[in-house]
Symmetry: D3
Subunit: 135 residues, 6 copies
C-alpha cells in the first residue's frame, strides 16, 4: 500500500548508512523489531538519519517531560492530523511505557473535548482575550 518500498532486513544489511541507523534503533529500544515507518524512510538515508536523530532528542533523551507524557502529546497530535499509522504506533509505544486503561480513557476524553471546543471557538470566531497575551 505504501507509495515507496519498505526495506527488508536483507536490504538494510546491505546498505551501511541505513544499517547504522537500524542498529542504533535496535540498540536504543533494546528490541529487534523495527517498524515500517523506518523501513519506508530508508529510501532517503539523509531523511532517515535526521528523523531518527530528532526522535531521540525529542522523545527519548531525558528532559523536563516524562516519556509517557511525551507519547500522550504525540497521540493527540496524530489524532488531530488523522494519521492512522501514527495513532497505532504511538498508542503501542505509550502502552509499552506504562499507559494504563484509565489513563488511555482520560486521554481519549481530553482529545475529544479539545476537538469539540476547537470547533466551537472556530465557528464562533471568538477573539483572543487580552488576558491571554504574553506580557
Amino acid at each position: 500500500m505504501a507509495t515507496a518500498k519498505l526495506w527488508t532486513d536483507e536490504e538494510v544489511a546491505a546498505d551501511p548508512r541505513v544499517r547504522a541507523v537500524f542498529d542504533d534503533i535496535r540498540a536504543t529500544r533494546k528490541s529487534d523489531f523495527v517498524n515500517n515507518f523506518w523501513r519506508a524512510l530508508a529510501n532517503q538515508p539523509a531523511l532517515l538519519e535526521r528523523t531518527w536523530s530528532s526522535i531521540k532528542d525529542v522523545m527519548i533523551n531525558p528532559g523536563a517531560l516524562d516519556p509517557l507524557t511525551r507519547e500522550l502529546i504525540y497521540i493527540a497530535v496524530s489524532t488531530a492530523n488523522g494519521c492512522s499509522y501514527c495513532v497505532h504506533s504511538h498508542t503501542a509505544a505509550a502502552r509499552a511505557k506504562g499507559l494504563t486503561d484509565a489513563q488511555h480513557g482520560e486521554l481519549i476524553a481530553i482529545i475529544g473535548m479539545a476537538a469539540e471546543t476547537n470547533a466551537l471557538a472556530t465557528v464562533l470566531q471568538i477573539p483572543v482575550d487580552p488576558e491571554f497575551e504574553v506580557k
Copy 2:
C-alpha cells in the same frame, strides 16, 4: 469579530440559567475572570451548560492524569486543529498550572516532531505493522 454576541457581565446577570454557569465557573476557578469562550457560548444555554459540565469532568475533576498533563494534550490538539483562540487560552491555563519554560519548549518540539512524522507517514502511506494491533 465573533459571529455571535459576546455576553457582558450585565447580560449574564440578567439571565438566571447563564448566570448559574458563570457563577460555577468563577467558584470552581477561584477567579472573577471569565474568558470570551464562555461569553460566546452564553447564546445557547443548553450548550453552555453541557460544555462546562464536560470540561469539569474532563479537565478539572481528579483522575489518572494530572492537570498540567491534561493541558499539554489540549494544546497539542488545538495546535494541530489550527485553533488560535484555543492555543492562547490553554497555554495560559498551562502556565497557571505551573508549566515551566523548559516544559513549554519540549512540548513545542514534540508537537512539531509529531506533525512532521504524521506527514511522512501519510505521504508514504505506510501500512500499520501487525505488531501494533490490539490483541
Copy 3:
C-alpha cells in the same frame, strides 16, 4: 494582509473580463457589495470565472437542497478547515438567507459534536461496520 492585490472597483471597471464577472455577481445577488474573496480572485480571470460559475451551480441554482441548508454545510466545512474568512462570509450569507439564532445555536452544537466524535473515532481507530457499506 492578503498575499495578492485586492482589486478596487476602478481596477475592475478597467478590465472587461473581470468586470463581466463582477457585473454578474451584482446582478445575481441583487446587491452592489462584492466581497474581498472575488477582489482577490480577480488577479486570475480564468479562476475567477470558473469559481463564480461553480458557485452559481452549487450554491444558487435550484436543486434538491434549499439555499439555507447549503450555507449550513458550507459553514460546517469551513469551520473544520479552520478558514476564518469563510466562516465569517458564509455565516453572514446564512443570516441573509434567514438563519435564526436557534438554528445557528443548533448548527454550532452539531459542528462541535461531530468534531468530538471524529476525534474519538480516530484515536480509537474504530473499524467501519460492514452494515455501513454500500451494497
Copy 4:
C-alpha cells in the same frame, strides 16, 4: 484494528452501566444493531454515557433543524476532518433518514466547493470584510 477493545454483546450484558446505555441506544433507534463506535466507547463508561446523552440532545431531540439536515452537517464536518468511520456511519444514517441520491450529489458538490474556496481564501490570506462583522 482498533486501539481499544470492541465490546461484544456478552460483555455489554455483564456490565450494568454499559448495558443501560446500549439498551437506550436500541430503544431510541428502534433497532438491535449497535455500531462499533459505541462498542469502543464502552471501555470508558463515563465517556460512553456523556457522549450518548449529547448525541441524543444534538442529533435526535426535536429542534430548529430537521434530522436529515443535521446529518448533512455531520457528514460535512467528518469529511473535512478526514474521519473515514464517521463519513461511513453518518452517510448510512442520512440514507436511513431519507437522503436521496440527488441530495447526496448536491451535498458532495457543496463539500467539494467549500473545500476549494477555503483553500483559496487561505492561500490568498484574504482579510475579512467589515460588512461580515456582527454588529
Copy 5:
C-alpha cells in the same frame, strides 16, 4: 467501501453524458484505464463534467508551471489533508510524468519539514512580520 456506486464500463457506456466524459479522459490521457475517482463522480454527471473540465484546465493545459511540478503541489496538499486516495493517485501520476526517486525523496522531506514548521508557528502563535505584507 465507497459511499456511492462505482460505475462499471458497461454502466458508463449506457449513459451518453457520462460516456462523453470518460471518452475524453481516455483520449486526453492516451490510456484505457479510468480510475475509481471518476467512476464515483459518475453518479453526478454535472459534477463529473465540471471536475474533469477543471482538472484539464488546472493540471493538463500548458501554463507557467510544468506538469510534474503541478503534481508535486497536488501531492503536498493531499498529504496535508490526509487523503489516502489522492496521495496514491497523484504519486502514481507524478511517477508517470517522470518523478525520480531522488525528487520523491526531496518532496517527502519538504512536506515533512513544512508540517513541522507549520505546527511550530501555530503553537507559538507567531505574528506575521510586516515585511511579508504585500505592498
Copy 6:
C-alpha cells in the same frame, strides 16, 4: 500575540548559542532581516539549531528540485494546514526566488483544485485502485 517571547537583536547578541544561528541565517540568506519565526524559536536553542539545520538541508542545499519548486510545495502544505504565518512567509520567499504572478495564479488554482478533489474522494470514500499500488 505570540505565546512565547520574540527575541530582539540585543537579546540574541547576548546569547552565543542563539547568536551563532542568527549569524548563519544572515550569512546564508545574505540579508540582515531575520523574521519572527526564528525570534520565537530562540527560546529553545536546541530546537532553533535543529530546525535551521534541517531547513538548510531541505530548502537551501542543492538537490533534485529547484528552490522555487520547493517553496511552492511549502506554500501548498502551509495552506492545507491553515498556517497563516507560513503562507505569508513562504509566499514572500517564493517571490524573492522569482515567483511570477502567472505562476502564483496557477499555484493557487492547483491548491484549490486539490482541496476540492481531496474532499470529494473523502466524502465518497473511494477505494484505492490496485493500479496505484507500488509493485
